[in-house]
């Protein structure tokens, strides 16, 4: 899986789970302020990422995620692309 594919899948999760508009999905987008993701959505997102990519995201790491770009980086890193 390439980095572009990972980004595409994460964006698809954002659209499917939270009905975010595709044009809002930028690496610098703040999950809370720009995309309207609250703390409960964050938990949902983390579990969906784990399921989609077959990775385990530690709760302490998950708490640190603030932007969409940080999510891309975390998943790419975990998939060791």
């Amino acid at each position: 899986m390439t980095t572009i594919q990972v980004v595409g899948k994460i964006n698809q999760i954002m659209v499917d789970l939270f009905e975010v508009q595709p044009d809002e999905l930028k690496p610098e987008s703040d999950l809370h302020k720009d995309l309207g993701i609250d703390s409960l959505d964050s938990v949902d997102l983390v579990v969906s990422l784990e399921k989609e990519f077959g990775i385990r995201i530690d709760e302490s790491q998950a708490k640190q995620l603030r932007t969409l770009g940080e999510i891309y980086d975390l998943v790419v890193q975990r998939k060791a692309l």
Binding site: L17, E19, S39, L40, V43, V47, S60, K63
Partner: protein, 303 residues
Amino acid sequence: MRWSGKTRGGLIGNMTFVFLVKYFGIGAAYLLLIPVSFYFLFFAPTAFRASWQYAGKVGAGGKHFFRHLCFVYRHFYRFGQVLLDRVALIGGASDRFKIEFHDEDCVRNALARGRGIVILTAHCGGWEIACQLFGRFNRPVRVVAYAGEAEKIRKYFDQVLRNRSFAVIEDDGSGDVTFEILAALRAGEIVAMMGDRIKEHQDIHGAAVNFLGQKAILPTGPYRVAQVARSPIIVGFVSREGTYHYRFDHSAIELKPSHDRGSREAAIQDATNQYIKRVECFLEKHPEQWFNFYDFWKVADHV
């Protein structure tokens, strides 16, 4: 109006009651409760209004002013009794209490699924006693509690209630608490949460329900976390049946599977409706054991 998280009664007041329970027995503390409950009738207007309003909704006081007033008094008194029982029971005199816990297998079977359990209760009956009961399942028990209580009082009760069989996850409103709950459930632990109060710091993402004939808003957080962790939800309440006698009744809530935001919200709405019906059933049998002394329904007016 939403619940501010702070309860009335200062540290000295609480210490006095604990002293009486410890050195003179719970009967002496009940005696002091008689004038204290009278005091609350006259000097706790918010609690008084809330109890009065609630009495009207459960039809407890009828249309007679005096009967209504008597209910409010008994309501305050019962609240005090449950708090004192908690001190006695968790503080070290648990052998004096008879606690009925039916259908333990239901809980054991849910735990055997390996996804933890969400115990959903409410501020009615002896909810802290309910949390204490889960110590018998040999799994860590965590109770999600709002961190708005005065520090001195909280620390004091941490010391007094030293035999607690549960740990507290403090909900400080930061949102990080959600991940702590998820971690506990993933580890197969028991997590107790309140399904009735929307706190001041929470966004209004609650579900509207009909509660005692009027629209109320309930938090959806417990269902969301259970849904994500795929943990079973058990709704349970501990009723005070008499002196030294409590009973725990519980039943599972079915949370329908969901794949998108629409079906997720529908599933949560359905679960919230199931929950509030069980609260109503509990209150039908125990009308004096509803312990939300603020305008519970007012928040719905702003949504």
